[in-house]
């Protein structure tokens, strides 16, 4: 028996390795660097590794169309684009995460205990957030380029576990935050089980776990489709859970609301990119030939998701919950991109994911700013009159909402247009029409928030906008600039995406 030593092509894996290295350094910093200097050092390390990874991703874009790590991953255009998007979203989010006011000072202390108070007063901060974030980013980077089921599953867990943890680390309303972590974890594990079960069937069907092998089996299959379909179904459930599609969405409002807001923003934006990246790869390359079986299911799910997300968002009273339902609706819109199953759909999805991700981080960034004496205020009624007190913050938020609503001259519009036209091109007219109609419903609740901020007089209790720290300001500003730029002048990005958006099998 001869052992072939594996060729890993480290340069192609470098982005992930850089992030992992950053994470490990972060863990070591926890052990060896003094408390006072930790936040700065951690932030620099995290930021540095993210930027470095981004640079590396861009550097290897011409080396693309290669498999690496013994076929465990595929480095191709779309993969790199997803990685880019994730890294950019992560860079923006990291500033927000760096604003430590949002995290508990001592996760182990009981909520409301003296210990917690003392920890907070002593200025202790939870710098473990940084390595955890980096681990999650590493998982996300791996998720859309994974090209076998094992890597996909591992990546799924790598990105999920840190998020489960971080969801429970809010400084304010800690019970709710812990509850969010519990819910996210239990349901996440539940859906992972489905995913794994599906993977088992796919393996059973194809006799291999590699995507190429599954595709080959699909093309030249000998048995009937039952095992395959079960496999697709269960794997899809796992992925649909991550993107928050109905009926696998139920976790997202609760988790979005309970988690610390910067984490919510990061999670909402980056997880979506990663999960849709994986989904697009799986369904565009591996399972494209089985489209007659899975597309009808996806159409139904997309339609239900769009309508449900939009309708339920209307009656929300909490801004984070509302954004959660909005993200559900957006998951529906993005599913139309999966359904499209053509190159235009892929390009549109990538564009949409990036635009949506950036705007989401920005919007959640603003949510962190609206506080009262006991912390962040996410009750919408208390946002009334925000436009009067802090016109700039309110305007920025309104702009993000308009982008979500897909009003022209914002990035959301171009995304919506692109993704719907791709879906229409593929003949999914019904989905497009439902999409358009639910956009109207969606617009309704975005506008409601705008009304509340600008046209309603403030209630007497003093909700105020804190002066944003320089970091938060950076997050919001970058998101805003990108959102405007993508709305008015989307060409550079579209042109950048176009030649790269070709999956290799």
């Amino acid at each position: 028996m001869i052992f072939n030593s594996p060729a890993l092509s480290y340069s192609l894996l470098a982005p992930i390795l850089i992030i992992l290295a950053g994470a490990l350094i972060g863990v070591l910093i926890e052990a060896f660097v003094g408390k006072a200097r930790r936040p700065v050092v951690q932030l620099s390390v995290a930021l540095g590794s993210l930027v470095l990874a981004l640079v590396q991703v861009i550097r290897i874009r011409n080396l693309s169309s290669t498999t690496a790590a013994m076929g465990s991953v595929v480095i191709d255009g779309p993969g790199l684009l997803f990685q880019c998007a994730i890294l950019i979203v992560a860079v923006i989010s990291i500033f927000l995460i760096a604003d430590q006011d949002n995290f508990t000072s001592s996760a182990a202390a009981l909520p409301g205990s003296d210990e917690e108070r003392q920890a907070t007063q002593s200025g202790t901060v939870l710098t473990e957030i940084y390595p955890l974030t980096l681990f999650a980013v590493a998982g996300m980077l791996l998720f859309p380029i994974a090209s076998d089921l094992i890597t996909l599953f591992v990546a799924l867990e790598v990105l999920s576990l840190p998020l489960y943890l971080m969801a429970g680390l809010s400084r304010h309303r800690r019970l709710a935050s812990q509850e969010a972590a519990l819910k996210y974890f239990l349901l996440g594990a539940f859906s992972s089980a489905f995913f794994l079960f599906g993977a088992a069937y796919l393996y059973g069907y194809a006799g291999t776990v590699s995507f190429a092998g599954i595709h080959a089996a699909l093309v030249g299959g000998t048995g009937n489709d039952v095992i395959l379909l079960l496999g697709i179904a269960f794997v899809a459930i796992g992925l649909l859970f991550k993107v928050g599609a109905v009926p696998f969405h139920a976790w997202s409002p609760d988790v979005y609301q309970g988690a610390p807001t910067p984490i919510t923003g990061f999670m909402a934006a980056a997880t979506k990119v990663a999960a849709f990246g994986a989904m697009l790869r799986l369904f565009y390359t591996v399972l494209a030939e089985a489209q007659w079986q899975w597309r009808p299911f996806f159409m139904v799910i997309a339609i239900i998701t769009m309508i449900f997300g939009s309708l339920v968002a209307i009656s929300q009273r909490d801004v984070k919950r509302m954004l959660a339902y909005s993200s559900i609706a957006h998951a529906g819109f993005l599913l139309t991109g999966v359904i499209a199953l053509n190159k235009a759909g892929l390009e549109a999805s990538i564009y949409y994911l990036f635009a949506y991700g950036v705007a989401t981080v920005g919007a959640f960034g603003i949510v962190t700013l609206v506080r009262d004496s006991s912390g962040e205020v996410s009750d919408l009624n208390r946002w009334a009159g925000l436009g009067k007190r802090s016109p700039w913050v309110a305007s920025a938020f309104a702009f993000f909402l308009l982008a979500f609503a897909g009003i022209p001259l914002t990035s959301g519009f171009i995304g919506k247009f692109a993704i719907f036209s791709a879906a229409y091109e593929s003949g999914a007219t019904a989905v497009v029409i439902v999409g358009v109609l639910s956009s109207v419903i969606a617009a309704f609740f975005y506008i409601r928030v705008i009304v509340l901020m600008f046209f309603t007089d403030a209630t007497e209790d003093g909700t105020s906008v804190v002066i944003p720290s320089i970091l938060t300001r950076l997050t919001i500003l970058i998101s805003l600039v990108i959102t405007v730029a993508l709305g008015v002048f989307p060409s550079p990005l579209l042109d950048f995406i176009k030649p790269l958006a070709i999956f290799i099998r």
């Binding site: 079960l230 899809a236 079986q293 009656s315 309704f444």
Partner: protein, 630 residues
């Protein structure tokens, strides 16, 4: 070219009106003078043009002036162009002549009104619009003038609009006129659609080739227009209320000129009516009904102006009747129009003079024995009276007699019916006009002591006197050698004598008419001279009288047929708009919100129900697979 002057007829008063309106209070001192001067200059231009026309041979008398191309879209070409021919010059002279007199009268009559300048501006505006009406060379130009006089009429009726009833009267007049305008615009549309032109000349040329149906449709629409403007049945109701305006306005607009525009329209459109017998028949029916209607209403009016208004309505009924009789009647219609312009304007001015002396009292039952206090008014009014009831040789005799005669000769049962109506109308006219005379000038005084009746100043009585002279002489002048008939021949189709055999010889007709007039006078004398006149209208009168006092229920009918259903419709539509249409919109919204909050309940907050949801979703997908792999 003299035709270049035509535009000044209109431009002078229009400009004057604009100056008066825009210059504001600064012009209060001289505004009335400017207005009068403008009207007089316009009359001067008109008179000059008239002399120029007289100097031309018959065929070349008509002249046109093209100002500019007004609307030019595709084949729809309308020039702003004026036509002065034998028919329009009659009107020009009447409008500017009587108009000028009334301007003069108004200087004094309105001297105490703070807004006299505005009054003159409106009068000038009216003169300009009315001149445009009669000078326009196409229906569309006519339409501009047509609505213009409506606007002026609205403004003048509502001149004292701080009184709500007056404002309402103005509105009523405008709206009912608009009903007529509807007819006019439809007539224009039909004409354009079928003949591709809207000018008089063009339609006259095309009319013979057009189908009778088309022409009848146009004719009926024009009749509606005429009925609206000339207060003919069934659009007569506004005229009585229009007396809310200052008396000179009533004299000029609601007696002499504007209300006769319908007659002008029908006469001008002779080429259409002549080829559309059905429309023509309708015209005479409308005329006959209105002349009786007005006369009957007039018998029960105690308000001197309303009595005169009813009389106007009736007299215009005569004119319409005549115009409806075709080529034989047009000239007589115009003749009656002109004579009526003199005597009715004179009488209105007389009534104004009486009111002037009586603290603006209009109720004749509060008059009595004014002859002594207002001799000039009495005389001028009396001359007008004699003219209107048709006593020879006053003007009304000639014109009305001709109409009665023509009507009788219209042939067959139609002729007899129309003739009888005209004759009966003459009797009624005699009755109610005598009643007016008696109640106002003779008998015992019934006025309060606060009233100090006095004669009006010269500026007021002079115009009355001139008009009185007109009422005496004009009829004789027009008929001498059939002057007016021949003058108008080129416009209205040539007179074809002997088409119908005469039912009765003219002398018999005249005799018959005079007899009936005498009967009317006698009844009036019996009723109001022999018996004392109460200073309030008696209540214990027959049901018929009550109905007549209510203008034969015209307002009741209008209210019942149009106003109340209209209001109900408006109200219900407003409700429907709010509840049904907007309600549907809101309903959709509410449905979205409602279903949102229902669906929201699925988010129970229990992890276990979420996992159940995932399980259900998975089961559903498995079921789907189960179905498709069946």
């Amino acid at each position: 070219m003299t035709s270049n002057l035509i535009v000044y007829l209109i431009a002078i008063p229009l400009l004057s009106s604009a100056v008066l309106l825009l210059s504001g209070r600064k012009a209060n001192k001289w505004g009335h003078l400017l207005g009068t001067l403008a009207s007089a200059s316009s009359f001067g231009v008109g008179a000059y043009l008239f002399t120029q026309m007289l100097a031309q041979p018959t065929e070349e008398r008509a002249m046109t002036q093209k100002l500019f191309s007004w609307i030019n879209v595709g084949s729809f070409n309308v020039d702003a162009s004026l036509l002065l021919d034998q028919l329009s010059i009659c009107f020009v002279l009447l409008i500017t002549g009587v108009g000028t007199l009334i301007h003069i009268y108004s200087i004094s009559y309105m001297s105490h009104d703070l807004d006299r300048r505005r009054f003159f501006a409106y009068l000038n505006l009216f003169i300009a619009a009315m001149l445009l009406l009669v000078l326009g060379d196409s229906y569309l130009n006519l339409y501009v003038g047509w609505e213009g006089v409506g606007l002026a009429s609205y403004l003048l009726i509502g001149f004292w609009n701080q009184k709500p009833t007056y404002a309402t009267a103005a509105k009523k007049a405008f709206v009912m006129n608009r009903v007529g305008d509807l007819g006019l615009s439809l007539a224009i549309m039909i004409a354009f659609a079928s003949m591709g032109t809207v000018s008089f000349a063009g339609i006259e040329e095309a009319a013979p080739k057009a189908s009778t149906t088309t022409l009848t449709a146009i004719g009926i629409m024009l009749l509606i227009a005429a009925a609206g403007k000339s207060a003919q049945f069934p659009l007569q109701a506004w005229l009585g209320d229009a007396m809310a305006g200052p008396t000179p306005v009533s004299a000029l607009i609601h007696a002499a000129t504007m209300v006769t525009a319908g007659v002008y329209l029908i006469t001008r459109s002779n080429f259409i009516f002549d080829a559309a017998p059905t429309a023509q028949l309708l015209v005479v029916i409308v005329g006959a009904i209105t002349l009786l209607f007005g006369a009957i209403v007039g018998t029960a009016k105690d308000d001197i102006k309303k009595a005169l208004a009813a009389s106007t309505m009736s007299q215009i009924g005569y004119m319409i009747l005549a115009a409806g009789l075709g080529p034989v009647g047009y000239a007589f219609a115009i003749m009656h129009l002109l004579t009526h312009g003199f005597f009715k304007a004179g009488m209105f001015l007389g009534a104004g003079s009486v009111m002037h002396g009586m603290n603006d009292e209009v109720n004749m039952r509060k008059y009595g024995a004014l002859r002594k206090f207002m001799p000039i008014t009495f005389i001028t009014f009396g001359l007008g009276y004699l003219a209107i009831i048709g006593v020879p040789p006053f003007a009304g005799f000639y014109s009305k007699d001709m109409i009665i005669e023509t009507a009788l000769n219209a042939g067959g049962i139609k002729g007899i019916l129309l003739g009888s109506a005209a004759l009966f109308g003459a009797g009624l006219t005699a009755f109610y006009m005598t009643r007016v005379m008696i109640l106002t000038f003779t008998g015992t005084k019934r006025w309060d002591d606060e009233a100090h009746p006095h004669e009006s100043p010269i500026l007021m009585w002079l115009p009355m006197a001139i008009l009185a002279i007109g009422s005496v002489l004009s009829g004789f002048l027009f008929t001498r050698g059939d002057a007016l008939v021949h003058w108008l021949e080129p416009v209205v189709a040539p007179h074809e004598h002997g088409e119908h055999s005469e039912l009765l010889p003219p002398i018999v007709v005249s005799g018959l008419a005079l007899t009936i007039v005498l009967i009317g006078i006698s009844i009036a004398v019996m009723m109001y001279v022999r018996r004392p006149v109460a200073d309030v209208a008696p209540e214990n009168v027959s049901a018929l009288t009550k109905i007549v006092r209510q203008d034969l229920l015209q307002d009741v009918a209008n209210e019942a047929i149009f106003m109340r259903p209209g209001q109900a419709l408006t109200k219900s539509l407003v409700t429907i708009d709010e509840k049904v249409i907007d309600g549907a919109v809101h309903g959709v919204g509410a449905m979205a919100i409602g279903s949102g909050s229902e669906l929201r309940k699925t988010q129970t907050g229990y992890v276990r129900s979420y996992s159940a949801l995932i399980l259900v979703g998975a089961a559903a997908i498995v079921l789907g697979i189960w179905v498709i792999t069946q």
